[in-house]
């Protein structure tokens, strides 16, 4: 009673490797032999299931049951259930800037948030005040995590949310917050991909967040204690207090940015014939200078400069221009507490010098643009220094023969100087 | 039970047996009466089964163990199942709730009642039965059991036994023939494979259009007509 199996094996090379097709042909079974074979197979399964678990897919026998609450399958990294918010482990800063992208894209509209505002000025800051997600209606599509530019919202692996309280499934920010280390643990490769950019963006955002705004609620106490300890240890530097926001800091900032702009300009392979990036860099410098001036002049509330250093130059330039314009507009709207800014606050055309500066410069040759920017920056600085400070004159040297990048640097430096002076004057006048 | 005997045991057992007999008799008669009077034919069959059980128990009480078990096996296990099957297969849907008795059922009542009251009871009660003497105490009576029956079937009742076997075979074949007569008329349901093959053959027949030799055709047609007539 032997089984005669005509075995014929064909081999095929496919994109997925070698494939063996075994043609067993017609098996010739005597009566009852198939039944016995079946019994044997079942007994093998029975025997192996007593002793071992099914671990590899290649294994044919063994218990495959996962005793769920005690044993769990390892979830794949891409597994997604409900969104969570991330915050930095050390500083406690949340990554979310309340940009509303996720709220906008959410198909079942279960994400709700409010932007944080500076309690002193009422101005919005890039942080989220409250964040709600209705988990009971969430469809786990993961679009919020896809769209988030700051990698602040991510999809969690946690799935045991069953409850008899429906309302308990609407989670607030505190419940949604997870440290970055948690996400790194559940999705290491995904986080490694975005880690650098996310942290850099966070660094930038942190600078625009006053006090403890933007710190995860569960970390507030800890961070406060840390800061108090730090203040006690080193009282002399006293950084980051908004009142102090001294001119020299602004100046340093401006200088740093100018350096960055220069670097960007240098980075372009052929500076001389291809003038576009260079003049852009120049424009940028001008705008920044204007900003710095404005700040120094006494908006006196916040460190508003965005962390655009890493952005590509042209984008950064445009962004800087827009921000400068905004800043100017705002300054105008607030009625310009600084005495000397009355004239450009009253007339809109004058009120946005930096904004004007950018568009016309586009067509000009590089050096001209640079010069123009410098001049405008100087003007702004001058204006800001309402006392009519003389040093503004040295802010606009012709510098026609210089290469574009140099011009830009020069403009930046001059602008910075002007700003510094203006600040010093103002400080002096206030005192 | 051992050899332990006491006067009470015998007396009590006699009482017990009498009580059991009365219980079985009541069961048999009640079930029988319900069988013939109850409206629903399925209920009647179930009552009949109950009656069969009583009869089987009575056999056991009369120490006819083989008969008792055979009664249960054949009547309860086979005949009643057969009856139930027949009832299920012939369910008279419109007539099941109608009167079950014939219009002149009282005549049918008089005859058995008279038979029972006037003939059976007087005869049975007045006849002088010649009972064998009871066996001496302590010695079990000689009762023929299953082995004796088997031996008897192989010896003195051999011919009746074979006749009974033939009767059963004939009855079985006859029942099959009678009940399943209709199956031949039923058209066979083709399997899918057969349908496909049939279609193929039809196409093959239609395609080779050239007519066969006239002689062969003639033979075929004659056969066909012969078969039909």
């Amino acid at each position: 009673m032997t089984t005669e199996i005509q075995t014929e094996t064909t081999e095929a090379q496919t994109t997925r490797g070698k494939v063996y097709v075994i043609d067993r042909g017609r098996t010739k079974l005597r009566a009852g032999q198939g039944l016995l074979t079946g019994l044997e197979v079942v007994f093998r399964h029975f025997r192996d299931a007593l002793t071992r678990k099914l671990e590899k897919p290649s294994q044919q026998t063994g218990v495959f049951t996962v005793q769920y609450p005690e044993e769990r399958l390892k979830l794949p990294e891409a597994f997604r259930n409900f969104p969570i918010l991330l915050y930095d482990d050390e500083t406690g800063q949340e990554l979310c800037t309340s940009c509303f992208q996720c709220q906008r894209i959410c198909p079942p509209q279960v994400i709700h948030m409010t932007q944080a505002r500076d309690p002193a000025t009422g101005k919005p800051v890039p942080a989220v005040a409250e964040f709600l997600i209705e988990y009971d209606a969430c469809m786990s599509c993961g679009l919020c995590a896809e769209v988030c530019p700051f990698d602040a919202i991510k999809m969690d692996h946690e799935f045991e949310y069953s409850t008899d309280v429906h309302g308990g499934l609407t989670l607030n920010k505190e419940a949604l917050n997870r440290p970055i280390s948690y996400y790194e643990k559940i999705a290491p490769t995904f986080w490694a991909e975005v880690k650098d950019s996310a942290m850099k963006k966070l660094q930038g955002n942190m600078k625009r967040r006053p006090d403890l705004i933007g710190v995860a609620p569960q970390m507030v106490e800890k961070i406060r204690a840390q800061r108090a300890a730090a203040a006690a240890q080193a009282p002399s530097p006293t950084p980051a207090t908004p009142e102090a926001a001294p001119a020299d800091k602004a100046a340093r900032l401006a200088a740093a940015r100018a350096r960055a702009a220069e670097k960007a300009a240098e980075a372009t392979p052929e500076p001389a014939p291809d003038s576009a990036p260079i003049d852009k860099a120049a424009r940028l410098a001008a705008i920044r200078a204007a900003n710095a001036a404005k700040k120094a002049e006494g908006a006196a509330d916040e460190v508003a400069a965005p962390a655009t250093d890493s952005a590509p130059t042209d984008k950064a330039a445009r962004l800087a221009a827009i921000r400068a314009a905004n800043a100017a507009k705002k300054a105008a709207a607030e009625g310009a507490p600084a005495a000397g800014s009355a004239d450009f606050a009253s007339t809109p055309s004058d009120a946005a010098p930096a904004a004007d500066a950018a568009p016309p410069a586009s067509g000009m040759p590089a050096d001209k643009a640079a010069r123009l920017a410098a001049i405008r920056a100087a003007d702004a600085a001058k204006k800001a220094a309402a006392e009519g400070a003389a040093p503004a004159s040295d802010a606009a040297p012709p510098a026609s023969g210089m290469p574009a990048d140099k011009a830009a640097r020069l403009a930046a430096i001059r602008a910075a100087n002007a700003a510094k002076k203006a600040a010093a004057q103002r400080d002096g006048s206030e005192e | 039970m051992g050899q332990y005997q006491s006067p009470c045991l015998v007396l009590c057992m006699n009482t017990l047996i009498t009580v059991l007999f009365l219980i079985f008799a009541a069961l048999i008669l009640t079930s029988a009466i319900m069988t013939v009077t109850v409206k629903n034919i399925v209920h009647a069959a179930l009552w009949l089964i109950s009656s069969f059980f009583g009869v089987g128990a009575l056999y056991l009480l009369m120490e006819a163990e083989f008969l008792g078990v055979a009664q249960v096996l054949i009547y309860v296990g086979a005949v009643s199942i057969l009856i139930l099957f027949a009832i299920m297969l012939t369910r008279d849907l419109e007539g099941s709730q109608n009167r079950q008795l014939t219009p002149r059922w009282w005549i049918a009542l008089i005859v058995p009642a008279a038979l029972f009251g006037l003939l059976i009871v007087p005869t049975v009660m007045t006849h002088a039965w010649q009972l064998p003497p009871p066996p001496p105490a302590g010695q079990p009576p000689a009762i023929s059991g299953a082995q004796q029956i088997g031996t008897a079937f192989m010896r003195e009742y051999f011919l009746p036994f074979q006749v009974a076997a033939i009767l059963l075979t004939v009855a079985m074949i006859g029942a099959i023939v009678i009940a399943f007569e209709e199956r031949e008329r039923r058209r066979r349901v083709l399997t899918l494979v057969e349908q496909v093959r049939l279609r193929q053959r039809q196409q093959q027949r239609q395609q080779p259009a050239p007519r066969p030799e006239p002689a062969a055709t003639a033979v075929q047609t004659s056969e066909a007509t012969g078969g039909e007539t």
Partner: protein, 108 residues
């Protein structure tokens, strides 16, 4: 060991068998349903069997004739039931009825 022969007199058993026979006869005569008639006949056959066994047990317990005859009766009853029920099914198929009164095509 006490036995039925001492506890219950024979006429009781015979009376029981007679009563059962008469009940069966009544059933066979009065039922309209063919299956019902068959049930009555089965009852009558059982009554006969009780009689046979009673005679065997009370009169000749060491002779197997009574039991043997009872077994033959059971055999015949089984054969009768099989054929009878087959006929009933056949009649039902042909006439859609199991009522004995309606199966009268041979009536003159």
């Amino acid at each position: 060991m006490p036995s039925m022969t001492e506890a219950v007199p024979l006429p009781w058993v015979l009376t029981l068998a007679g009563a059962l026979f008469c009940v069966g006869l009544f059933g066979a005569l009065s039922r309209r349903n063919t299956v019902g008639i068959l049930l009555g006949i089965e009852l009558m056959l059982n009554a006969v069997n009780i009689n046979l066994i009673a005679f065997w047990r009370y009169l000749e317990p060491n002779v197997v004739a009574g039991q043997t005859f009872a077994l033959f009766v059971i055999t015949v009853a089984a054969a009768e039931a099989a054929v009878g029920l087959a006929m009933i099914i056949a009649i039902y198929r042909a006439r859609q009825t199991v009522n004995a009164d309606e199966v009268d095509s041979l009536r003159g």
